[in-house]
């Protein structure tokens, strides 16, 4: 049964990704990327990463879709049509993909307690969360306490991104009305 759920979700991901690549209509691509994120969130729940799934559903499927739609209102609705087929990008993608697949052969099995990643600091964090911090959610303990510096850095990055966005497009100046942004032309 688990295998079946995995296969359905992975299949949906693949189909959505291919559809995003092939569509020329940017509105469709945006909606499909939202669907892709939602499928990803379901997959994360399946992998017991509920914290990540929550974020993926709210940010990936919700807010970034809305932001992409906001961007779409400032630009065209259709991708320019490409003529012909160019080999170099195809070769680069094919070789990278093959190398990544080759790399997965050496990966430890999913959830293997003896994999190197599980043996380094993880036992210390698990024991520390149980004995010292004493909260049930180890993810929160690592995020906010053991890796507090990193999380502070993340908060600063988000804040800096806001400053950048506000500086670039935060204020609507009168001369924008004449030159820069305008209503996108209607399609017949």
């Amino acid at each position: 049964m688990e295998m079946f759920v995995d296969m359905v979700l992975m299949g949906l991901l693949g189909i959505t990704a291919i559809a995003i690549v092939f569509t020329r209509h940017l509105f469709t691509a945006t909606m499909l990327s939202g669907a892709y994120s939602l499928t990803c969130a379901a997959l994360f729940v399946k992998l017991d990463a509920v914290d990540v799934a929550l974020t993926e559903a709210a940010i990936g499927a919700g807010i970034s879709t809305v932001l992409l739609l906001g961007t779409l209102t400032l630009t065209r609705r259709r991708e320019k049509a490409h003529k012909g087929f160019s080999w170099p990008p195809f070769v680069v993608v094919a070789v990278t993909g093959a190398l990544l697949l080759y790399g997965t052969v050496d990966m430890p099995a999913f959830g293997d307690p003896n994999s190197p990643g599980m043996l380094h600091v993880v036992p210390e964090y698990i024991a520390g969360t149980r004995d010292d911090i004493q909260i049930p959610n180890i993810v929160t303990a690592i995020l906010a306490s053991y890796r507090g510096f990193d999380t502070l850095g993340e908060a600063v990055v988000i804040f800096t991104a806001l400053i950048g966005v506000l500086l670039m497009i935060g204020r609507r100046r009168p001369d924008d009305e004449e030159s820069g942004t305008r209503r996108p032309e209607r399609r017949p």
């Binding site: 509105f27 509920v50 914290d51 799934a53 929550l54 974020t55 709210a58 940010i59 919700g62 807010i63 809305v66 932001l67 906001g70 961007t71 209102t73 400032l74 609705r77 010292d132 911090i133 004493q134 909260i135 049930p136 959610n137 993810v139 929160t140 303990a141 995020l143 906010a144 306490s145 507090g148 510096f149 999380t151 502070l152 993340e154 908060a155 600063v156 988000i158 804040f159 991104a161 806001l162 966005v165 506000l166 497009i169 935060g170 609507r172 942004t181 209503r183 996108p184 209607r186 399609r187």
Partner: protein, 145 residues
């Protein structure tokens, strides 16, 4: 989207519950999946839903961008100040053990406070970025899509 009666009624019902769930994810993050980042994204999603249904101008009046800007800065500042507060007890930066006489209680207080800071920042940043994008164009008719 003034004429979408169903969307308006449903979202009016949903928005309070989304915000309530955001608060639950925020303050229950120690015990169940969640934390500041997820909670902030949820509350911001509620704000964006409100703006989508009732218009950006009305959303700007309800969620004042000036207040949101202060919130974004205050969240990061709160996080950084908790780090400094550990100095007073004699610890290193962000070492919550030294916030209170009892190590474990100190950890709890520290984690909840910094998560609250992250939640404030994420909510405000997401909402403000959306307002910045949405403020660039006039209202779009449904036919324009």
């Amino acid at each position: 989207m003034r004429h979408h009666l169903v969307l308006r009624v449903v979202s009016k019902l949903l928005i309070p519950f989304i915000i309530l769930y955001g608060l639950y994810v925020q303050f229950h993050g120690d015990f169940s999946p969640g934390g500041g980042f997820q909670a902030g994204a949820l509350v911001a999603a509620a704000i964006i839903l409100y703006a989508l249904i009732f218009g950006v101008d009305r959303a700007r009046r309800v969620f004042n961008p000036a207040v949101l800007t202060v919130m974004a800065a205050a969240g990061v500042l709160l996080f950084a100040l908790v780090g400094y507060a550990a100095f007073i007890g004699g610890g290193n930066y962000l070492d919550y053990d030294y916030l209170l006489p009892n190590d474990t209680t100190g950890q709890h207080v520290g984690i909840i406070t910094v998560e609250f800071g992250v939640g404030l920042t994420v909510t405000a940043v997401m909402a403000l970025v959306f307002f910045a994008y949405a403020g660039r164009t006039d209202e779009i008719d449904d036919e324009d899509w």
